[in-house]
Every structure is written in structure tokens, then in C-alpha cells.
């Protein structure tokens, strides 16, 4: 199913944000380490004395080397943080990890710097301080610096994920609003409403008791479709009750042409589903499986709880190759309904939720929705 306009907007937005993030990272790394290098170089140039054992050029190149090492070490640390999943950690778990990491990297950094300068290049040591003291001091310096680096890094991600959460919530709210507006317009098909009213007019004469019942069923359906748009999820049981009312009304119209089979596992009844989801699937099944076929047929609703998700299947007679959803997009309000339902499902439950049409038993089409269960139900 095609992603709707909202999903593609979100997609574009994600790409744009990723690019902005990469730019900001390069800027911060270059700026930060550039400042580190420039600040120390300025101190050397301004305050060093000529009686020191090495010339300024050697000192400056050592500084460049040390800064480059810092830049590289932190640069390779960044993907590791992502891989270890530290961005998802709480601060209690994060603090010891930050301390240990900065200590380890600082030691590595000092070892590399001192090892290269004094071990390989054999530069002359300081006359006043021992090498061990200098090594310890610069390790501590390095550790403080790295803690600062990591703090900045995690602060940025804290704000970033906060922003992203807000955007997600906003788009969900927009979608719920749209769904509410669409509730009467496309999800309960107006053609169905007026045909039902027409059947009702006839029933009032022929079977007043059944007519009274049908009025209640139609009222239930209209009320539900108006109200449930404001909810994110409803218990499956509530939706099923309304779908039953809807099917009873369709049976008034289609009589023996519409046969029904319900196969619902009792443990699914309390599970949460997006409102109007089953209704959309069933309406679609009646439209293509019953209304367009002179011989009518059987609609089956099957609900199962499987591997931490709710699996809903609605089958109707028909074939996918000639599925009018694709052949006749202008006339099919439920084709749009299915696409809307799929988008809403994705926004509410992420990528684990799916909705698809597939061929079932020979001569049958199955609409199948898989809805992951929330933690409290899993």
C-alpha cells in the first residue's frame, strides 16, 4: 500500500533532519577540536620560554597530533554509542558508562600520544616533572575533556528525541482529527446509509419489530462512527458489536445473498484496536464480495491472538486480479478507506502493524490486519 501524504511528509522530514544532524556534527567536531588546538597553540606561542628543551615547532606539531587523535577517537566512538544503544538508556545507566568510557579512551589517547612522542620520536622529557606525573595529569585532563564531549553529545540527543516525540504526537493528533472528519463521509458509506433508510421504510410496513431493531442498529453504527474518531483505540469487543449491527443491516438489504461466519477467539475481545478498522475491512468485503455479485456469498470474520499480536481476517468471495479497488479508484471510497486504515495503523503501532489484501482459499479474498499488542497485554 502506498504511504499516504502524511507519511511521505514525515519521511522527507526524517531525511532532512538526518542531513542537518550530520552537518551539525561535522561543525561541532571541527569547531571544538579546532578551538582545543588553537587555545593551546596560543598559550605555547605567548607564554613559552626559549630556554625549554624543544623548539616551538615541535611543540606545535605535537599539539596538532594530539588534537587529531582526539578528533579521531571521538569520531570512532560515535557509531559505537549508536551500536551499543546508549541513546536509549536512562541517566542512571548512562553515568557509569560515560565515566568508564572517557577514562578508557583518555588512557588510550595519552598512551598513544606519549608513546609516540617519547617512545618512537624520543623527544627530550621535561627537566622539572617526571614522565609518570605528566602522563597521569594529561590522562585526567583528557578524561574531563571526553566527559564534556559525551555530555554535549547526549544532551543534544535528549533534545533531539524530545523534538521528534513532539512531532510524532502532532502528526498522530492530525491524523485522528482527519479520521474523525472522515468518519461519516467515507467510512460509513453514505450509499449504505440511504439504502438502509429505504429498506427501513419498507420494513415499517412489513415487519415493524424488525424495523424498530434496525433503527437502533443504524443509530449505534452512526453514533460509534462519529464518536470513536476521537479515540486512538477501542476494545475489539466494542468494534465487533458495531460491526454486527452493520452486518445485520446489510442482511436486511441483501437477505439470503449475505451469509456470515464469525470465528472469534474469546481472548481477543479485550484487545485494543484502532476504531473503524474492522468496520472498514467488513464494508470493503460486503462491497466487493456481495453487492457486486448477483449470487452473493459468505463473509467470514476471524480473530486470533498470535505471537504477541492480534490477527484479524475478513474473507469475501472474489478474486484479487479483478479487484475493483485497483481497477476503479474513482468510484471506490472503501479503497481509500483501506489505505487510510493502513496509514493509521502504521502511525499508531509502527512497522509491526500490517494491513494487506491477499488471495485466500480459491475464489476468496482475505483482508488481513496484524496489530501488535501493547506491553500491558503481551
Amino acid at each position: 500500500m502506498e504511504p499516504g501524504p502524511l507519511t511521505s511528509v514525515l519521511l522527507d522530514d526524517t531525511v532532512r533532519r538526518e542531513r542537518a544532524k550530520a552537518r551539525l556534527y561535522v561543525l561541532c567536531q571541527a569547531g571544538g577540536w579546532g578551538f582545543f588546538l588553537g587555545f593551546q597553540a596560543a598559550i605555547v606561542l605567548l607564554f613559552s620560554h626559549n630556554d625549554e628543551p624543544r623548539d616551538k615547532t615541535t611543540t606545535l606539531s605535537t599539539l596538532v597530533m594530539v588534537s587529531a587523535m582526539g578528533l579521531l577517537l571521538t569520531h570512532y566512538l560515535r557509531p559505537l554509542i549508536g551500536r551499543w544503544g546508549w541513546k536509549q538508556l536512562g541517566w542512571r545507566a548512562l553515568v557509569p558508562r560515560v565515566l568508564i568510557t572517557s577514562a578508557v579512551i583518555s588512557l588510550l589517547w595519552s598512551t598513544l600520544g606519549y608513546g609516540y612522542s617519547y617512545g618512537i620520536l624520543r623527544l627530550p622529557g621535561s627537566p622539572t616533572y617526571s614522565l609518570a606525573l605528566l602522563f597521569t595529569l594529561s590522562s585526567i585532563d583528557g578524561m574531563i575533556l571526553l566527559i564534556g564531549w559525551l555530555c554535549l553529545y547526549f544532551f543534544y540527543h535528549l533534545f533531539d528525541s524530545f523534538n521528534r516525540l513532539q512531532i510524532q504526537q502532532l502528526s498522530l493528533a492530525t491524523h485522528a482529527k482527519e479520521a474523525e472528519l472522515r468518519a461519516l463521509k467515507s467510512q460509513v458509506n453514505p450509499h449504505f446509509i440511504f439504502n438502509s433508510l429505504n429498506s427501513l421504510r419498507a420494513l415499517i410496513e412489513e415487519d415493524p419489530a424488525r424495523a424498530r431493531q434496525a433503527v437502533t442498529q443504524l443509530a449505534n453504527l452512526l453514533r460509534y462512527s462519529l464518536q470513536s474518531g476521537q479515540l486512538e483505540t477501542v476494545p475489539f469487543e466494542d468494534e465487533l458489536r458495531v460491526v454486527n449491527d452493520y452486518l445485520a443491516l446489510e442482511q436486511v438489504r441483501h437477505e439470503e445473498r449475505l451469509r456470515l461466519r464469525l470465528d472469534v477467539a474469546p481472548e481477543t475481545l479485550q484487545l485494543p484496536i484502532p476504531p473503524m478498522l474492522l468496520q472498514t475491512l467488513v464494508e470493503n468485503a460486503v462491497k466487493y464480495g456481495i453487492s457486486m455479485r448477483p449470487e452473493g456469498g459468505e463473509i467470514a470474520i476471524i480473530a486470533r491472538r498470535e505471537n504477541g499480536s492480534l490477527r484479524l481476517q475478513v474473507t469475501n468471495p472474489g478474486a484479487l486480479e479483478t479487484d475493483p479497488v485497483r481497477l476503479n479508484p474513482a468510484g471506490g471510497s472503501t479503497g481509500l478507506g483501506l489505505a487510510n486504515a493502513a496509514n493509521r495503523l502504521r502511525l499508531l503501532f509502527g512497522d509491526q502493524a500490517t494491513l494487506r489484501l491477499r488471495p485466500g482459499l480459491p475464489g476468496n479474498v482475505v483482508a488481513e490486519a496484524i496489530i501488535p499488542l501493547p506491553v500491558s497485554h503481551a
Binding site: N198, S199, A202, S291
Partner: protein, 240 residues
């Protein structure tokens, strides 16, 4: 008036029957639940009027109408909610009723029909050939028309279909030119060549053409060539 009710829902037919009981001059002669039954009933009853549901399983009401042999009876469409169909009906001044049917609108539609029937010849003494006032139903895309034969200037063969020219439209008719020719009254229509039939009432002027043929100009701009043999026949016919 003899009426046939075509709707896939039994309750909808019953409701209409009940509403029509208020009009003693309308006799409901039969009912049909789909296009197939409707064809049988049309052949058996030859009603003056059909109430036709647009949305039906299998063939829709418009599909059925398009496939009928002319002359088509008077049609009052019924629909619950179909923006496209209603737009088409209004565009072409066709009579339609929205379900549930408002009795006052039904009365209005029947009034319009009575005034039309008053001017047309009674169906009983209808000859085998179609009269100039008889109508064919044509549809193209969103548009549909009941066209009186006398307003058709030209019929052109396009394989199994026939393109009919009238007013400013030229939609395709769902049957072959030969099938049409059999039903058209030679008093009004003339087979000009293998591909075209012209309406004699629409001829503007005639000029001689190559090797003894004729070129016929129709009002509205079309030109039709007649070969020598057809020109001969044409002259004989016109001199009569």
C-alpha cells in the same frame, strides 16, 4: 401505464410498489432483481415505464439500459446516493428519484411522463421499424443520453459499435451499424455507404461528385460520399 420495477433489493421493490399504489393509472406489471431477469421481463411485458436502480450486482442499471434493443421504454432512475450518477442525470435532464423516495417527487416525475406520453404514439400500434420519436440510450464516460432518432444526423460504423452524431455529441452506441439499419425506418434514414447512414431530414445540400457519385452535406457540417450505385438508389428514393 404499465410499469416494471428493477432493483436488486426485495424491500426496495416492495416500497416502490407501495408508493405507486397511490397512482391508479400506474400498474406494476412485474419486478426484476437483476439485469438478466429485467431483460426477460422487458421482452414479456413491454412496459411503458421502468423504474431502474442504478447500482445492481453484476450489470448496473446503466449497463442494462445500454444493452437494450431500441426503442427503450421511459425510464425513471432510482439511486440511494451516487454523486456521479445524479450529476449525469441532471446534466442530461433525465428523471431520477433518490431513495428513500419522496412521494411528492414521484408524483412530479409521473406528471412529466404523462405529458410526454400524451404526444407520443401509443405503443400498441408501433410498427416493426423505429419511429422518429423513438429513443436510443447512449452512454459515454460520465454522460448519458436518451436520443430521439429524429435528432440523429449521422450514424457511422466503428467495428461492432456505431458512432451517433447528434447535437454537439458523438458517443458510441453499443451495437453494429447493420443491426441499426435493420431497425431504422428507410423513410428517414439512408445507407450512404458501407460505413455511414444519414438522416434524410438533416441534408443541407447535395453536389455531384466523381464518376457519377454524390457528395451530401449535412446540417452541422458533416460531408458524406455516395458511390454511383448508391447515388442512383438515392435519386430514385428522393424523386419518389
Amino acid at each position: 401505464m404499465k410499469a416494471l420495477l428493477i432493483d436488486d433489493e426485495r424491500l426496495a421493490r416492495n416500497e416502490l410498489r407501495r408508493l405507486l399504489a397511490a397512482f391508479p393509472d400506474v400498474v406494476v406489471a412485474g419486478e426484476a432483481a437483476n439485469a438478466k431477469q429485467a431483460r426477460e421481463q422487458l421482452a414479456a411485458l413491454s412496459p411503458d415505464l421502468i423504474f431502474l436502480d442504478v447500482q445492481m450486482p453484476g450489470e448496473t442499471g446503466l449497463d442494462l439500459l445500454e444493452s437494450l434493443e431500441p426503442p427503450v421504454p421511459h425510464v425513471i432512475f432510482t439511486t440511494a446516493y451516487d454523486e456521479f450518477a445524479v450529476k449525469a442525470f441532471e446534466l442530461n435532464a433525465l428523471d431520477y428519484l433518490l431513495k428513500p423516495v419522496d412521494p411528492a417527487r414521484l408524483a412530479g416525475a409521473l406528471d412529466r411522463l404523462r405529458s410526454k406520453l400524451g404526444t407520443a404514439p401509443a405503443p400498441a400500434e408501433r410498427p416493426a421499424k423505429l419511429a422518429a420519436e423513438d429513443k436510443v440510450f447512449v452512454r459515454e464516460g460520465d454522460r448519458c443520453w436518451f436520443v430521439e432518432l429524429k435528432s440523429i444526423r449521422l450514424l457511422e460504423s466503428e467495428g461492432n459499435y456505431t458512432r451517433v452524431h447528434f447535437d454537439s455529441a458523438q458517443p458510441q452506441l453499443f451495437r453494429s451499424l447493420n443491426a441499426m439499419e435493420e431497425r431504422l425506418d428507410p423513410k428517414y434514414f439512408f445507407r450512404a455507404n458501407r460505413r455511414q447512414i444519414i438522416n434524410l431530414a438533416w441534408i443541407d445540400k447535395i453536389e455531384p461528385w466523381f464518376s457519377g457519385g454524390l457528395l451530401v452535406h449535412l446540417k452541422g457540417g458533416a460531408k458524406v460520399e455516395l458511390s454511383r450505385r448508391q447515388a442512383q438508389e438515392f435519386r430514385e428514393k428522393m424523386s419518389l
